[in-house]
C-alpha cells in the first residue's frame, strides 16, 4: 500500500541551507509534509527563517543567528542552543528552544509564542511588538528595551535596565530584577494579572510548573510618552 509521507528528514551535512529554506518556503497550504527534522545544523545561521506554513520543524542540535526569523504559523523546535535573534520579528506560530538563547531573542516580534527552556542573553524581547515570550531561566541586561506590546515572562532573574523606555509591553519576572530601566516600574499584581499570566503560561504549555503568585509585574510609567524638559535626564 502506498502511503503519502508526512515527514521529511534533512541532513545539513549533505544539503545546503539554501536548499532547505527554499523547500520550506515552497510548502503550500496543502502540504502533507507537516513534520520536518533537521540534522547536523552545526550552528547554521538563518535556519528555517521566513516560514509561512502550518508545519513543525525540529532541529537536532544548535542553530546560529536568526533561527526561525520572521516566522509565520510554523512551529520550530530547537533541541539545542540558538544564537542571536531567535524568532526575530516573528508574526505568528511557535518557537521552542530547549537550550539557551543568545542576545535579542524574540526581538521586534509581532505575534506568536517563543519559549526558551534555558537562559537568554541581553536584549531579550527588545522592541517587541506583540509577541509572547516565556523564558524558563534568566534573561540578561537591557531586555524589553523599547518593548511596545506583548508579554515577557521570566521564571528566573532579569539583568540590568529591564524595560528601559518601555511602551505597552507587559513584563512578569519571578526572580530578582537587577535594575529597572528608564520609565519602567513595578506595578501591582492583582487577580486579573495573575489570571492573565496563568493564561499565557497555559498557552505555552507550562502552566503547572510555577506558581503565578510568585511573579512581579513591570510596565511603563508612561512619563516619557510626551517629551517634557524636566525628564531630560531620563532620555
Amino acid at each position: 500500500m502506498n502511503t503519502i509521507p508526512t515527514s521529511q528528514t534533512v541532513d545539513l551535512a549533505t544539503v545546503s541551507l539554501r536548499e532547505l529554506n527554499q523547500s520550506l518556503h515552497r510548502l503550500g497550504d496543502r502540504t502533507n509534509l507537516s513534520h520536518w527534522r533537521i540534522l547536523n545544523p552545526r550552528g547554521a545561521h538563518a535556519l528555517a527563517c521566513g516560514l509561512d506554513a502550518d508545519v513543525t520543524v525540529e532541529v537536532d542540535g544548535d542553530a546560529g543567528y536568526y533561527c526561525a526569523g520572521m516566522n509565520k504559523r510554523a512551529t520550530v523546535i530547537v533541541h539545542g542552543n540558538v544564537g542571536i535573534g531567535v524568532a526575530e520579528n516573528m508574526m505568528s506560530g511557535r518557537v521552542y528552544v530547549k537550550g539557551d538563547a543568545s542576545q535579542a531573542a524574540g526581538a521586534t516580534g509581532q505575534g506568536g509564542l517563543l519559549v526558551v527552556d534555558g537562559n537568554t542573553s541581553g536584549r531579550c524581547g527588545i522592541s517587541m511588538k506583540g509577541i509572547d515570550i516565556v523564558v524558563k531561566g534568566s534573561i540578561g541586561p537591557m531586555s524589553a528595551f523599547m518593548a511596545q506590546a506583548g508579554s515577557l515572562v521570566v521564571f528566573g532573574d532579569a539583568g540590568d535596565a529591564l524595560g528601559d523606555s518601555i511602551y505597552e509591553a507587559r513584563l512578569f519576572v519571578r526572580g530578582t530584577v537587577k535594575s529597572l530601566g528608564a520609565d519602567c516600574i513595578e506595578k501591582p499584581m492583582k487577580d486579573q494579572h495573575r489570571a492573565e499570566l496563568y493564561a499565557k503560561l497555559k498557552e505555552a504549555g507550562v502552566a503547572g510548573e510555577v506558581d503565578v503568585g510568585e511573579f512581579k509585574r513591570y510596565g511603563s510609567a508612561r512619563t516619557l510618552y510626551n517629551f517634557h524638559v524636566d525628564n531630560a535626564s531620563a532620555y
Binding site: A46, C49, G50, G64, Y65, G85, A104, T108, N226
Partner: protein
Amino acid sequence: MNEHSRPPQTVPRLSATFDPATMAEIRRAAATGIYDIRGGGTKRKLPHFDDLLFLGASISRYPLEGYREKCGTDVVLGTRYAKKPIHLKTPVTIAGMSFGALSAQAKEALGRGASMIGTSTTTGDGGMTPEERGQSKTLVYQYLPSRYGMNPDDLRRADAIEVVVGQGAKPGGGGMLLGQKISPRVAKMRCLPEGIDQRSACRHPDWTGPDDLEIKIEELREITDWEKPIYVKVGASRPYYDTALAVKAGADVVVLDGMQGGTAATQDVFIEHVGIPILAAIRPAVKALQDLGMHRKVQLIVSGGIRSGADMAKALALGADAVAIGTAALIALGDNDPRWEAEYQKLGTTAGAYDDWHEGRDPAGITTQDPDLAKRLDPELAGRRLANYLAVMTLECQTIARAAGKSHVHNLEPEDLVALSIEAAAMAGVPLAGTNWIPGQGSF
C-alpha cells in the same frame, strides 16, 4: 558746537558670531528648555556641487549631437547577488520617506511620479502602505532599527530591501515622530499608542557591527530566496570604511547620504553639525569600491541636497551609479509653495523657510497626518509634477553628458570636472579650475 565738529559715530554693528539667528535660538532655548527640532536638511552653506563645473568638449574631445545622438540613462541595481536586479530608466530615485512623516497622499504621489518616469521609490520608518505599493512600479522597502510595520509579506512584496544604518541628516541618530502626527492609522502600523512622541532606536535591535550585518543580510536573502537586491544606507561620516564594510557584509548597493540630506524631524544641532557634505563623501566611497574591485559591481547611490540634473551629472561623474532625492521631490509635489504664503505666515514662517514638518500642520498637505490638510494634495496632479521634474533632471543630465561627449551618463568621469574652490577641489578630488592642483591628493 556746529554739525561739523561732531565726532564720527560708530554705526550699530551686528556680530558675525552672535548673529540674529543665533541670538534668537539662545532666547528660544532659554524660554523653552528644549532643543530645536525641525525637518529638512542643513541650512547653512556647505561645499557642494555648485562648487564644481564641467569642462565640456573642446578640440581634444568631441561632443555628441544634442537630441540626435543617443545618451543612455538606464541603470541596473543589484547585479551582485540578487536574482532579480532592478532596472531603472533614469539614475534618479526617490529616497526613503516614511508614511507618518508624509501623508498617504504624498506617498502615493511619489509612487505615481516615479513610476511614470521609470524609477523607484522607497518606503520609510513606518512600514509599507498599500497606496505606495499600489502606485510604485518599483518599490524599495526599508529595514530600519525600529522595524515599525516590518513583516515578511511586505518584504516579499518589495522589489529591493534597504537596510538603513544611518541617514545623512543624523548619522548616529534614531528617528522621532511627535505625538501630533501619530494618527490612529500611523499608531496601528507602528504598534504604538496614539498621540505619543515616538522615538525610534538608532541601533538595530539584533545586530551590531559588520560581522553581524553580514549574517543579517544573509537572513534577509534567505527569507526572500535571494531574489531582491539588498541595499545598505549609511549617513556620510566615514564613507571609505562604511562602504568597504557594507560591501564586505554582502550589500548589492550602497546608499550614501550626505549631511545636507533632509529629515522629517531631527534636532537642528544634529542636522547642522554631524556628518560630512556629500561632495566630500563620494570619492572616498568610490575609492573603497575600486580598492575592492567592486566599482560598478556594487552600485553606489548618493543623496543629500541634490536639486537638478547638474547635481546628478556631477555625482555620477564622481563615480556614483545613481542619485536619490528627498527634499527636491517634496518641493516638486508642492512643499513650501508660495501659493500657501498666507498660511505659512500664520505659522510664523514664510514659503521657502517652512521646516516644522514634525508638527504636522503643513499647509501643502505633504508632511501631515491631518485629513483635511492631506486632502489638499491631489496625488495624481502632484505625481505628474514629480514626473515632469524627474524628466527635466534627466534631460539636464543628458545635456551635460552629451556636451562632454558621453553616450551614457555613466561615462561621465572626474576628468570632466574642475572645482571653483580649494575646498571643493580637495573634497571632490578634481583640480581647481585653471590649475592642475588637486589639494590633498593621494591620502583621503
